[in-house]
Amino acid sequence: MIGTALDIMSKVAPPRGAFVDHPVGRTFGPPYDRARNDAVLVKALAELSRFTRSGEIRDLHCEWQAGGNRAWEDELRAEMLHDR
């Protein structure tokens, strides 16, 4: 599983979990960013052989914004409320 919701992934315990710290619904990057799509997928595939037990979750250390800026969390909440 390649997912953005660490809490849910921890609860459902996939056999192999790759955590991407991106906004939900943007697992492989911003729209039309093909380099980012490729980079996240390559990172996830590289982890495949490193899992040793079912339920393990490995952090792919993907940053949505450089420098660990997490302003996107508030933006996402506002977007979801707007689109609800």
């Binding site: 997912g3 459902v12 056999p15 619904g25 039309y32 799509n37």
Partner: protein
């Protein structure tokens, strides 16, 4: 503002009753890879999913040129992925990895179904085994689930 409808039953997260583990048997460069998406996505000419408790799934051709992807999932996160489904369903990126030899081959199809279903029993006893059977029939070695 959206009208409030009948209250939804609470969402319950359920882990599989039998934790799955299947050893990696081949190097990635010789593996056939498929994507699994819970975005209820499909080609425009495939039968639409019907929110919210649609228990069917679609086999979506893995060729990125096979046609436009439509997302039927009802989630509030849908506006941005609908602009570019590749950000939740990296069909083109996976095809590019096959061309570069990073993976052995694409599966002939990827699989999509409706995420957020509350029929856990049917998922575990019906949908999941049926999907697994299709993947096994297509000799898929690695299935990458991307939750929506």
């Amino acid at each position: 503002m959206a009208q409030a409808g009948a209250p939804k039953p609470p969402r319950v997260l359920v882990a599989p009753s039998n934790p799955a583990w299947c050893p990696i048997k081949k190097p990635l460069s010789r593996s056939r890879v498929a994507l699994l998406s819970s975005a209820a996505l499909r080609l425009a000419d495939q039968r639409p999913f019907i929110p919210r408790e649609d228990l069917t799934y679609r086999l979506v051709p893995s060729d990125p040129l096979a046609g436009e992807i439509v997302i039927d999932h009802h989630s509030g996160i849908g506006r941005v992925p609908r602009q570019d489904p590749e950000i939740v369903f990296p069909r083109s990126a996976l095809a590019a990895l096959a061309n570069r030899g990073v993976i052995g081959a694409l599966a002939p199809f990827h699989v999509s179904f409706m995420g957020g279903l509350r029929c856990h029993k049917e998922i575990e006893s019906e949908i999941a085994p049926a999907i697994a059977g299709d993947l096994k029939g297509a000799e898929v070695d690695v299935a990458l689930l991307v939750p929506y």
